[in-house]
């Protein structure tokens, strides 16, 4: 099975095949021979053919994968090659920027309203979580198209806050 891993702006070709009780996984031009077993409800143990092993937690939301080794967490997107083609088209046609919450929290103050002109770095709002006030700034210059939140509102991680175009 062929896949593409999208990670840090790069598209890395992947191929997975069954091989005995394990798998052969090719990442770019590197092929690994591994076995993978479940180690309780949350963890998996991945072992390479030279005996080196990793205890990792794998979590998935759609195409988004989060793999954690405890000290390091890798976030990547795994898509089939056809889906990737469609995504590329979407990326090129999208003109505006939607600013999303990088954490759950509460909007304590809004600095802008629809129609306001903003520069890159203009403070848009303050999001408070866990006793810290965090200023969210505009990633680009443009005009505020929509404000999706109001002061006092609690938002989840990834919630759409403001659209700038």
């Amino acid at each position: 099975m062929k896949l593409v891993a999208r990670y840090g702006g790069a598209n890395i070709p992947i191929e997975v095949q069954r091989e005995g009780s394990g798998y052969a996984v090719t990442i770019d031009d590197r092929t690994m021979h591994v076995d993978l077993v479940s180690a309780g409800p949350a963890l998996k143990s991945l072992r390479l053919d030279d005996g080196r092993q990793y205890l990792l937690a794998h979590h998935q939301h759609g195409d988004q994968h989060e793999v954690s080794f405890g000290e390091t967490t890798v976030h990547l997107e795994l898509v089939d090659p056809l889906t990737l083609k469609r995504k590329r088209v979407e990326d090129e046609s999208g003109a505006g920027a939607t600013i999303t919450a990088l954490m759950p929290g509460r909007v304590v103050r809004l600095f802008v309203a629809a129609g306001d002109r903003v520069e890159k770095g203009t403070p848009l709002l303050i999001l408070e979580a866990m006793k810290m006030e965090n200023e969210v700034q505009s990633p680009r210059e443009g005009v505020v198209k929509t404000v999706h939140v109001e002061a006092g509102q609690t938002v989840d991680n990834g919630a759409e806050l403001i659209e700038v175009e």
């Binding site: 099975m1 896949l3 891993a5 990670y7 890395i12 992947i14 997975v16 798998y23 996984v25 990442i27 590197r30 690994m32 591994v34 993978l36 409800p41 949350a42 963890l43 998996k44 991945l46 390479l48 990793y54 205890l55 990792l56 937690a57 794998h58 979590h59 998935q60 939301h61 759609g62 195409d63 988004q64 994968h65 793999v67 954690s68 080794f69 405890g70 000290e71 390091t72 967490t73 890798v74 990547l76 795994l78 898509v79 089939d80 889906t83 990088l102 954490m103 759950p104 929290g105 509460r106 979580a129 866990m130 006793k131 810290m132 006030e133 965090n134 609690t154 989840d156 991680n157």
Partner: protein, 499 residues
């Protein structure tokens, strides 16, 4: 003696443990967001005292006193933060006929206002940092002080503490913005927007002394804690003893700390915080009239259970030991484990803990406030737990901490575990050479170290790809235009929540 704990999280659990060892029944209080919090599950009894925001629950004196009355609690332990340094709360406990497990309201009042405590310390002959000794009414007073003392200056909330409500200002043009921000934080966190300013000592260390007294005039010190490693003025790693304090300096620090405590007739556990310049001169910074977050490192090296001492002292008992019976043995280090993403500028990371494995083994102590399956709420401080180790030497303690951190697994939310591991490896930390600017200085190299080599990256990709492959084998295509992939993702999302 039934004890109500007016706090949440790991410190409430810590106090419950001490009560249990003394045979005291315990009562937890909680907000409606905390019904399933560990401290609530851990106590013998619990009472809901209000909605999620602290101002409507953990800071509600009337609701807490009511809870103590209805459950028949005879003593109230405030933990740290929240109402721990609120003299009105201590007085309210006493007025309701209960024991307040802490110092007298007068001691709290004297030390609680940073401006008044400075005046008291100056009068007692304890050295202080140059600064305004009174809260300022306007920006212009701070501007005048900064012009006289020179930059950098620190703007602080008079009622502040715990690293909240203060800003370092390096340039005149930043004063106004910092002044407004500190006032606003002071108002929302402490309900009091009074602020003041002081001179900032360059390249300082933050060293504090644990004191302990009873109501019969006995007051001793239990050595120092090195608390220099801070980020945004919040302590990150603490240790005892300090790598720069020798026996003679320990004696001077201890005597000065006891002198400071005596000036306010102190009893119970308290901490005198000093700022130490590169020359070894130290200045009184503030006193915390309560149990300190980092109290376990002192417990590990002295063998004294500070919480049990507090409870005995509150009952009118005498200290279990005198100054010449205090012995420091070995070295202890504490890492504060926060729900923060160290790879994303320490953004708060509340949410569901899908998996938790706490380190174990020789010399390891967890002061933990969470559990696997628990959702860390957005409303409170991000500290989840404290990891404490003890070793015979500083070197052993560092290597032990490094080993313990490698066993620490938290999945579902991000924590500062990798950050601590990075600190333990840092040659300057290992050499004991650092000041309060150390963390900011090493952060750029932290991000490089987190950006990791290809071996573990390949393993991560392989594990994810194999899972995707297995899903494609197991799941039937439901619609022609919908990939098995997307359906698998959706199933996963339904089963496991939205993160």
């Amino acid at each position: 003696m039934k004890v109500l704990i007016a706090n949440r999280g790991e410190i409430a659990v810590r106090v419950i443990r001490a009560c249990r060892e003394l045979g005291f029944p315990t009562v937890a209080v909680h907000s409606d967001a905390d019904r399933a919090a560990l401290h609530v599950l851990f106590a013998d009894q619990s009472v809901e005292i209000g909605p999620a925001p602290s101002s409507k629950s953990y800071l509600r004196i009337d609701a807490i006193i009511d809870a103590a009355r209805t459950t028949g609690a005879e003593a109230i332990h405030p933990g740290y933060g929240f109402l721990a340094e609120n003299a009105l709360f201590a007085q309210a406990c006493i007025d309701a006929g209960m024991l307040f497990v802490g110092p007298s309201p007068d001691s709290i009042r004297a030390m609680g206002s940073k401006t008044e405590s400075r005046q008291r310390m100056i009068a007692a002959g304890v050295p202080v940092v140059p600064g305004l000794s009174e809260a300022v009414a306007s920006l212009s007073e701070i501007e005048a002080f900064a012009a006289e003392a020179g930059f950098p200056v620190m703007i602080k909330a008079s009622a502040g503490g715990g690293g909240k409500g203060l800003r370092l200002v390096e340039r005149k043009e930043d004063l106004s913005n910092a002044f407004e921000r500190v006032k606003s934080e002071a108002k929302s966190f402490f309900g009091d927007d009074a602020v003041y300013a002081e001179k900032f000592i360059a390249s300082p260390r933050h060293i504090e002394v644990q004191i302990l007294g009873d109501q019969h005039g006995n007051l001793i010190h239990l050595g120092e804690r090195e608390c220099t490693l801070q980020r945004r003025h919040q302590k990150v790693v603490e240790e005892s003893p300090s790598p720069v304090v020798d026996e003679a300096m320990r004696e001077r620090l201890g005597v000065t700390a006891v002198q400071a405590g005596r000036a306010v007739n102190y009893y119970s556990a308290g901490t005198i915080e000093f700022l130490m310049g590169e020359d070894g001169d130290f200045y009184f910074l503030e006193m915390n009239t309560r149990l300190q977050v980092e109290h376990p490192v002192t417990e590990m090296v002295t063998g004294v259970d500070l919480v049990k001492e507090q409870l005995r002292v509150a009952q009118g008992g005498t200290l279990q030991l005198s100054q010449d019976q205090v012995r420091m043995s070995g070295h202890a280090i504490e890492c504060r484990i926060y729900a923060e993403d160290s790879s994303r500028n320490f953004a708060p990371s509340p949410g569901l803990i899908r998996y938790l494995n706490l380190p174990q083994g020789p010399g390891v102590r967890n002061e933990n406030g969470v559990y696997q399956g628990y959702t860390v709420p957005i409303h409170y401080d991000p500290m989840l737990s404290k990891l404490v180790v003890h070793g015979s030497t500083r070197e052993e303690a560092i290597l032990r901490m490094k080993r313990a951190l490698s066993e620490y697994r938290v999945e579902g939310i991000d924590t500062t575990v990798p950050f601590h591991s990075f600190i333990m490896d840092h040659p300057e930390f290992r050499a004991g050479r650092f000041d309060t600017g150390f963390i900011e200085k090493i952060l750029p190299s932290l991000n490089e170290s987190l950006a990791q080599g290809t071996a573990s990256f390949d393993a991560a990709v392989a594990a994810a790809a194999i899972s995707a492959f297995e899903q494609s084998q197991n799941v039937q295509l439901p619609h022609a235009q919908d990939s098995a992939w997307r359906r698998a993702g959706r199933l996963e999302a339904l089963g496991r929540g939205t993160r």
